[in-house]
Protein backbone atom coordinates (compact mmCIF):
# COMPACT_ATOMS: atom_id res chain seq x y z
CA UNK A 1 0.00 0.00 0.00
CA UNK A 2 1.66 3.20 -1.16
CA UNK A 3 0.80 6.45 0.53
CA UNK A 4 0.67 9.52 -1.72
CA UNK A 5 3.09 12.41 -1.42
CA UNK A 6 2.05 15.22 0.90
CA UNK A 7 0.45 17.75 -1.41
CA UNK A 8 2.06 21.16 -1.46
CA UNK A 9 5.51 19.91 -0.54
CA UNK A 10 8.33 21.82 -2.23
CA UNK A 11 11.07 19.74 -3.81
CA UNK A 12 14.72 20.72 -4.28
CA UNK A 13 15.55 22.71 -7.40
CA UNK A 14 18.43 21.11 -9.25
CA UNK A 15 20.07 23.05 -12.05
CA UNK A 16 22.73 21.60 -14.32
CA UNK A 17 25.03 23.79 -16.33
CA UNK A 18 25.05 22.05 -19.69
CA UNK A 19 27.91 24.19 -20.93
CA UNK A 20 30.16 22.68 -18.27
CA UNK A 21 28.67 19.19 -18.23
CA UNK A 22 29.15 17.95 -21.79
CA UNK A 23 29.86 14.22 -21.59
CA UNK A 24 27.74 12.94 -18.66
CA UNK A 25 27.50 9.41 -20.06
CA UNK A 26 31.28 9.02 -20.00
CA UNK A 27 31.92 10.79 -16.71
CA UNK A 28 28.94 9.29 -14.82
CA UNK A 29 30.45 10.11 -11.41
CA UNK A 30 27.34 11.86 -10.11
CA UNK A 31 25.04 9.20 -11.55
CA UNK A 32 26.74 6.41 -9.68
CA UNK A 33 27.22 8.21 -6.38
CA UNK A 34 23.62 9.35 -5.81
CA UNK A 35 21.96 7.20 -3.14
CA UNK A 36 18.48 7.91 -4.52
CA UNK A 37 19.36 7.86 -8.24
CA UNK A 38 17.90 11.34 -8.66
CA UNK A 39 19.99 12.27 -11.69
CA UNK A 40 19.39 10.57 -15.01
CA UNK A 41 21.14 10.82 -18.33
CA UNK A 42 19.24 10.81 -21.60
CA UNK A 43 19.97 10.95 -25.28
CA UNK A 44 19.14 14.23 -26.96
CA UNK A 45 16.17 13.57 -29.21
CA UNK A 46 17.13 14.23 -32.78
CA UNK A 47 15.37 13.56 -36.04
CA UNK A 48 18.57 13.72 -38.07
CA UNK A 49 20.87 11.52 -36.07
CA UNK A 50 20.34 7.81 -35.60
CA UNK A 51 21.26 6.07 -32.37
CA UNK A 52 24.40 4.53 -33.82
CA UNK A 53 25.66 8.03 -34.58
CA UNK A 54 24.97 9.18 -31.03
CA UNK A 55 28.39 8.54 -29.53
CA UNK A 56 28.32 9.16 -25.75
CA UNK A 57 31.87 10.51 -25.97
CA UNK A 58 30.86 13.39 -28.20
CA UNK A 59 29.74 16.66 -26.62
CA UNK A 60 26.05 17.33 -26.55
CA UNK A 61 24.74 13.91 -27.51
CA UNK A 62 23.68 13.04 -23.99
CA UNK A 63 22.37 15.38 -21.31
CA UNK A 64 22.15 15.12 -17.57
CA UNK A 65 18.87 16.04 -15.91
CA UNK A 66 17.19 15.69 -12.53
CA UNK A 67 14.49 13.13 -13.22
CA UNK A 68 13.51 12.34 -9.63
CA UNK A 69 14.03 15.53 -7.73
CA UNK A 70 11.36 14.58 -5.20
CA UNK A 71 13.90 12.18 -3.73
CA UNK A 72 16.83 14.59 -3.57
CA UNK A 73 17.95 15.04 0.02
CA UNK A 74 20.52 17.77 -0.53
CA UNK A 75 23.36 15.54 0.66
CA UNK A 76 25.65 17.20 -1.93
CA UNK A 77 27.52 13.98 -2.80
CA UNK A 78 27.08 14.72 -6.51
CA UNK A 79 28.38 18.27 -6.10
CA UNK A 80 31.48 17.03 -4.27
CA UNK A 81 32.23 14.47 -6.96
CA UNK A 82 31.59 16.65 -10.02
CA UNK A 83 34.89 17.54 -11.72
CA UNK A 84 33.49 20.61 -13.51
CA UNK A 85 31.15 22.09 -10.86
CA UNK A 86 28.11 21.86 -13.10
CA UNK A 87 25.46 20.92 -10.52
CA UNK A 88 23.65 23.36 -8.28
CA UNK A 89 21.05 22.27 -5.74
CA UNK A 90 18.71 24.58 -3.94
CA UNK A 91 16.75 22.90 -1.19
CA UNK A 92 13.72 25.00 -0.26
CA UNK A 93 13.04 25.68 3.36
CA UNK A 94 11.02 22.77 4.62
CA UNK A 95 7.70 23.45 6.24
CA UNK A 96 7.11 21.39 9.31
CA UNK A 97 4.57 18.76 8.38
CA UNK A 98 1.62 18.86 10.70
CA UNK A 99 0.22 15.61 12.07
CA UNK A 100 -2.23 14.16 9.61
CA UNK A 101 -5.90 14.86 10.13
CA UNK A 102 -8.37 12.84 8.11
CA UNK A 103 -9.40 14.74 5.00
CA UNK A 104 -6.98 17.60 5.50
CA UNK A 105 -4.30 16.22 3.23
CA UNK A 106 -6.55 16.07 0.22
CA UNK A 107 -6.65 19.71 -0.57
CA UNK A 108 -9.44 20.88 1.70
CA UNK A 109 -7.17 23.82 2.56
Amino acid sequence: MTYPLPMGRQFPKISIDLEKCTVPFLCKKCLQVCPEAVLHVTRVMSKEKRLEEMDPRVDGNYVLYAARRDKCTGCNLCIDVCPVDAIKIEVPEQVRVKPRVAGEQWGQQ
Binding site: Y3, F25, K28, A37, L51, R68, R69, K71, G107
Partner: protein, 280 residues
Protein backbone atom coordinates in the same frame (compact mmCIF):
# COMPACT_ATOMS: atom_id res chain seq x y z
CA UNK B 1 -8.20 -11.33 -9.14
CA UNK B 2 -6.91 -8.03 -10.39
CA UNK B 3 -8.77 -5.87 -12.93
CA UNK B 4 -6.52 -7.13 -15.70
CA UNK B 5 -7.79 -10.64 -14.93
CA UNK B 6 -11.37 -9.41 -15.02
CA UNK B 7 -10.84 -8.10 -18.53
CA UNK B 8 -8.35 -10.48 -20.08
CA UNK B 9 -8.34 -13.63 -17.94
CA UNK B 10 -9.83 -16.97 -18.90
CA UNK B 11 -10.94 -19.32 -16.07
CA UNK B 12 -9.80 -22.28 -18.16
CA UNK B 13 -6.17 -21.26 -18.03
CA UNK B 14 -4.10 -20.68 -14.91
CA UNK B 15 -7.02 -20.04 -12.52
CA UNK B 16 -8.07 -17.02 -14.56
CA UNK B 17 -4.76 -15.15 -14.26
CA UNK B 18 -4.60 -12.92 -17.32
CA UNK B 19 -0.95 -13.46 -18.26
CA UNK B 20 -1.42 -17.23 -18.26
CA UNK B 21 -4.16 -16.93 -20.87
CA UNK B 22 -2.58 -17.99 -24.21
CA UNK B 23 -4.89 -15.66 -26.15
CA UNK B 24 -3.01 -12.68 -24.76
CA UNK B 25 0.08 -13.81 -26.65
CA UNK B 26 -1.59 -13.94 -30.04
CA UNK B 27 0.30 -12.32 -32.87
CA UNK B 28 -2.54 -9.99 -33.81
CA UNK B 29 -2.56 -8.60 -30.27
CA UNK B 30 0.30 -6.36 -31.30
CA UNK B 31 -1.98 -4.44 -33.61
CA UNK B 32 -4.97 -4.43 -31.27
CA UNK B 33 -3.56 -1.75 -29.05
CA UNK B 34 -5.56 0.62 -26.96
CA UNK B 35 -6.63 3.52 -29.17
CA UNK B 36 -6.53 7.17 -28.28
CA UNK B 37 -4.16 9.71 -26.88
CA UNK B 38 -0.64 8.59 -26.29
CA UNK B 39 -0.83 5.27 -28.00
CA UNK B 40 -0.93 5.50 -31.74
CA UNK B 41 1.17 2.44 -32.46
CA UNK B 42 4.42 1.84 -34.24
CA UNK B 43 3.11 3.23 -37.51
CA UNK B 44 2.97 6.74 -36.07
CA UNK B 45 6.67 6.64 -35.21
CA UNK B 46 9.04 4.21 -33.66
CA UNK B 47 9.06 5.90 -30.29
CA UNK B 48 5.39 6.77 -29.96
CA UNK B 49 3.69 5.73 -26.80
CA UNK B 50 6.45 5.49 -24.26
CA UNK B 51 7.36 9.16 -24.50
CA UNK B 52 3.99 10.80 -24.91
CA UNK B 53 1.67 12.27 -22.34
CA UNK B 54 2.45 13.70 -18.90
CA UNK B 55 5.35 12.24 -16.97
CA UNK B 56 6.77 12.13 -13.48
CA UNK B 57 8.02 15.71 -13.82
CA UNK B 58 4.46 16.97 -14.35
CA UNK B 59 3.32 14.90 -11.38
CA UNK B 60 5.91 16.56 -9.14
CA UNK B 61 4.91 20.02 -10.38
CA UNK B 62 1.31 19.25 -9.48
CA UNK B 63 2.36 18.24 -5.97
CA UNK B 64 4.35 21.45 -5.54
CA UNK B 65 1.38 23.52 -6.68
CA UNK B 66 -0.89 21.64 -4.27
CA UNK B 67 -3.12 20.84 -7.24
CA UNK B 68 -4.78 17.58 -6.32
CA UNK B 69 -7.10 17.57 -9.34
CA UNK B 70 -4.12 17.72 -11.68
CA UNK B 71 -2.27 15.06 -9.65
CA UNK B 72 -5.28 12.80 -9.90
CA UNK B 73 -5.64 13.44 -13.64
CA UNK B 74 -2.00 12.56 -14.34
CA UNK B 75 -1.98 9.37 -12.25
CA UNK B 76 -5.25 8.38 -13.88
CA UNK B 77 -3.77 8.91 -17.32
CA UNK B 78 -0.69 6.88 -16.45
CA UNK B 79 -2.81 4.01 -15.17
CA UNK B 80 -5.19 4.17 -18.10
CA UNK B 81 -2.88 4.28 -21.10
CA UNK B 82 -2.43 0.52 -21.16
CA UNK B 83 1.27 0.68 -20.43
CA UNK B 84 1.23 -0.76 -16.95
CA UNK B 85 3.13 -3.69 -15.59
CA UNK B 86 2.69 -6.53 -13.16
CA UNK B 87 5.06 -8.22 -10.78
CA UNK B 88 5.23 -11.99 -11.21
CA UNK B 89 6.90 -14.61 -9.01
CA UNK B 90 9.48 -16.96 -10.50
CA UNK B 91 7.22 -19.96 -11.11
CA UNK B 92 4.73 -17.84 -13.04
CA UNK B 93 7.64 -16.25 -14.91
CA UNK B 94 8.64 -19.69 -16.19
CA UNK B 95 5.12 -20.29 -17.48
CA UNK B 96 5.02 -16.89 -19.18
CA UNK B 97 8.28 -17.68 -20.96
CA UNK B 98 6.82 -20.97 -22.18
CA UNK B 99 3.87 -19.12 -23.69
CA UNK B 100 5.63 -16.23 -25.37
CA UNK B 101 7.58 -16.14 -28.60
CA UNK B 102 9.98 -14.85 -29.74
CA UNK B 103 12.08 -13.97 -26.69
CA UNK B 104 15.07 -11.67 -26.93
CA UNK B 105 17.60 -10.40 -24.42
CA UNK B 106 18.15 -6.65 -24.65
CA UNK B 107 19.90 -3.82 -22.85
CA UNK B 108 18.08 -2.21 -19.93
CA UNK B 109 17.11 1.35 -20.75
CA UNK B 110 16.43 2.24 -17.10
CA UNK B 111 19.92 1.30 -15.93
CA UNK B 112 21.34 3.18 -18.85
CA UNK B 113 19.46 6.29 -17.82
CA UNK B 114 19.86 6.09 -14.07
CA UNK B 115 23.43 4.82 -13.69
CA UNK B 116 24.87 5.26 -17.20
CA UNK B 117 25.43 1.51 -17.49
CA UNK B 118 26.06 0.69 -21.10
CA UNK B 119 25.14 -2.89 -21.94
CA UNK B 120 26.53 -3.59 -25.36
CA UNK B 121 26.50 -7.37 -25.75
CA UNK B 122 24.42 -10.36 -24.81
CA UNK B 123 26.55 -11.23 -21.78
CA UNK B 124 25.67 -7.90 -20.20
CA UNK B 125 21.99 -7.65 -21.10
CA UNK B 126 19.70 -7.42 -18.08
CA UNK B 127 16.35 -6.99 -19.77
CA UNK B 128 14.09 -9.20 -21.82
CA UNK B 129 11.73 -8.35 -24.63
CA UNK B 130 9.09 -10.67 -25.96
CA UNK B 131 6.41 -10.96 -28.60
CA UNK B 132 6.43 -9.99 -32.25
CA UNK B 133 7.54 -6.48 -31.35
CA UNK B 134 11.05 -7.88 -30.96
CA UNK B 135 11.27 -8.45 -34.70
CA UNK B 136 11.20 -4.68 -35.03
CA UNK B 137 14.30 -4.54 -32.86
CA UNK B 138 16.02 -7.03 -35.08
CA UNK B 139 15.14 -5.06 -38.16
CA UNK B 140 16.35 -1.71 -36.87
CA UNK B 141 19.09 -2.61 -34.35
CA UNK B 142 20.71 0.80 -34.62
CA UNK B 143 17.47 2.48 -33.61
CA UNK B 144 16.88 0.26 -30.60
CA UNK B 145 19.73 0.86 -28.20
CA UNK B 146 22.15 -1.95 -28.66
CA UNK B 147 20.41 -4.74 -30.51
CA UNK B 148 18.82 -7.97 -29.42
CA UNK B 149 19.95 -11.53 -28.77
CA UNK B 150 17.22 -14.11 -29.40
CA UNK B 151 17.06 -17.11 -27.05
CA UNK B 152 14.94 -20.27 -26.91
CA UNK B 153 12.61 -21.12 -24.04
CA UNK B 154 15.12 -23.17 -22.03
CA UNK B 155 17.80 -20.52 -22.31
CA UNK B 156 15.30 -17.84 -21.35
CA UNK B 157 14.19 -19.76 -18.25
CA UNK B 158 17.77 -20.44 -17.24
CA UNK B 159 18.66 -16.77 -17.73
CA UNK B 160 15.64 -15.74 -15.70
CA UNK B 161 16.61 -18.02 -12.82
CA UNK B 162 20.10 -16.54 -12.86
CA UNK B 163 18.56 -13.06 -12.66
CA UNK B 164 16.46 -14.25 -9.74
CA UNK B 165 19.57 -15.56 -8.01
CA UNK B 166 21.20 -12.16 -8.44
CA UNK B 167 18.16 -10.58 -6.80
CA UNK B 168 16.18 -8.88 -9.53
CA UNK B 169 12.41 -8.56 -9.44
CA UNK B 170 10.55 -9.92 -12.48
CA UNK B 171 8.04 -7.45 -13.92
CA UNK B 172 5.86 -8.05 -16.98
CA UNK B 173 5.62 -4.90 -19.07
CA UNK B 174 2.50 -4.07 -21.05
CA UNK B 175 2.71 -2.25 -24.33
CA UNK B 176 -0.95 -1.54 -24.86
CA UNK B 177 -2.92 -3.88 -22.60
CA UNK B 178 -3.03 -6.86 -22.76
CA UNK B 179 -0.07 -7.15 -25.12
CA UNK B 180 3.02 -8.22 -23.15
CA UNK B 181 6.07 -6.72 -24.79
CA UNK B 182 8.76 -6.96 -22.18
CA UNK B 183 9.94 -8.75 -19.11
CA UNK B 184 11.98 -6.47 -16.90
CA UNK B 185 14.45 -7.46 -14.23
CA UNK B 186 14.28 -4.60 -11.77
CA UNK B 187 15.74 -3.29 -8.58
CA UNK B 188 15.30 -0.10 -6.55
CA UNK B 189 16.10 2.73 -7.27
CA UNK B 190 17.43 2.22 -10.80
CA UNK B 191 14.32 0.89 -12.52
CA UNK B 192 11.42 3.04 -13.60
CA UNK B 193 8.56 0.58 -13.22
CA UNK B 194 9.55 -0.54 -9.76
CA UNK B 195 10.33 2.97 -8.68
CA UNK B 196 7.03 4.45 -9.78
CA UNK B 197 5.27 1.67 -7.91
CA UNK B 198 7.17 2.24 -4.66
CA UNK B 199 7.28 6.05 -4.76
CA UNK B 200 3.89 6.91 -6.23
CA UNK B 201 1.86 3.69 -6.32
CA UNK B 202 1.30 3.99 -10.07
CA UNK B 203 2.13 1.83 -13.05
CA UNK B 204 2.49 -1.60 -11.54
CA UNK B 205 0.05 -4.12 -10.24
CA UNK B 206 1.17 -6.36 -7.39
CA UNK B 207 1.45 -10.07 -8.03
CA UNK B 208 -1.24 -12.58 -7.22
CA UNK B 209 0.72 -13.81 -4.25
CA UNK B 210 1.93 -12.51 -0.91
CA UNK B 211 4.85 -13.89 1.07
CA UNK B 212 4.19 -15.29 4.53
CA UNK B 213 6.88 -16.37 7.00
CA UNK B 214 6.74 -19.75 8.72
CA UNK B 215 8.13 -18.82 12.12
CA UNK B 216 8.95 -22.42 13.04
CA UNK B 217 11.31 -22.80 10.11
CA UNK B 218 12.84 -19.29 10.09
CA UNK B 219 16.19 -19.15 11.88
CA UNK B 220 16.71 -15.42 11.44
CA UNK B 221 19.67 -15.60 9.05
CA UNK B 222 18.55 -12.36 7.35
CA UNK B 223 19.27 -13.37 3.75
CA UNK B 224 15.72 -12.51 2.68
CA UNK B 225 16.00 -9.03 4.16
CA UNK B 226 18.76 -8.24 1.67
CA UNK B 227 16.61 -9.32 -1.24
CA UNK B 228 13.41 -7.33 -0.61
CA UNK B 229 13.26 -4.32 -2.93
CA UNK B 230 9.98 -3.00 -1.57
CA UNK B 231 10.79 -2.26 2.06
CA UNK B 232 8.22 -4.85 3.08
CA UNK B 233 10.45 -7.46 4.65
CA UNK B 234 12.65 -6.65 7.59
CA UNK B 235 14.55 -8.48 10.26
CA UNK B 236 12.52 -8.15 13.41
CA UNK B 237 14.96 -7.70 16.26
CA UNK B 238 12.54 -8.61 19.05
CA UNK B 239 11.97 -12.22 18.11
CA UNK B 240 14.92 -12.57 15.70
CA UNK B 241 12.84 -13.64 12.71
CA UNK B 242 11.94 -12.21 9.35
CA UNK B 243 8.86 -10.02 9.38
CA UNK B 244 6.80 -9.22 6.29
CA UNK B 245 4.33 -6.36 6.05
CA UNK B 246 1.66 -7.86 3.81
CA UNK B 247 0.29 -4.44 2.89
CA UNK B 248 3.65 -3.51 1.41
CA UNK B 249 4.50 -6.94 -0.01
CA UNK B 250 4.36 -7.03 -3.81
CA UNK B 251 4.63 -10.82 -4.00
CA UNK B 252 7.72 -10.95 -6.20
CA UNK B 253 8.89 -14.09 -4.42
CA UNK B 254 12.55 -13.10 -4.12
CA UNK B 255 12.54 -13.77 -0.38
CA UNK B 256 11.12 -17.22 -1.02
CA UNK B 257 13.66 -18.20 -3.67
CA UNK B 258 16.49 -16.84 -1.51
CA UNK B 259 15.50 -18.57 1.73
CA UNK B 260 17.87 -21.48 2.46
CA UNK B 261 15.39 -23.16 4.83
CA UNK B 262 12.21 -22.83 2.82
CA UNK B 263 10.63 -20.79 5.58
CA UNK B 264 8.71 -18.43 3.33
CA UNK B 265 5.51 -19.51 1.66
CA UNK B 266 3.87 -17.70 -1.24
CA UNK B 267 0.22 -17.44 -0.39
CA UNK B 268 -2.49 -16.73 -2.96
CA UNK B 269 -3.45 -13.10 -2.49
CA UNK B 270 -7.20 -13.75 -2.63
CA UNK B 271 -6.87 -16.07 0.38
CA UNK B 272 -5.66 -13.25 2.62
CA UNK B 273 -8.83 -11.15 3.03
CA UNK B 274 -7.40 -7.78 4.02
CA UNK B 275 -4.92 -7.57 1.14
CA UNK B 276 -7.00 -9.43 -1.45
CA UNK B 277 -7.74 -6.20 -3.32
CA UNK B 278 -4.56 -4.28 -2.53
CA UNK B 279 -3.00 -4.03 -5.98
CA UNK B 280 -0.86 -0.90 -5.78
Amino acid sequence: MCWMCDQFGDPEYGNGVWYLNPRNYARNMYKLRAPGEGFKGAEAGLETGARSGPGIGDLLNAVEKNDYAEYHRITGFMQGRGQGSQIVPLEHADRVLELSSPIGLIACICRKGARAIDERNELEYTCMGMGVGMLKWERWPERYKGGVSFVNIDEAIEWNHEMDRRGFVHILMLFGAPFIGGFCQCDYPDCGALRNAVDFGIGSLKSHYVAVVDYDKCNGCGICAQRCQWGALKFEVTNEKANIDLFKCYGCGLCQTGCPRGAIEMKWRADVPAVAEVWT
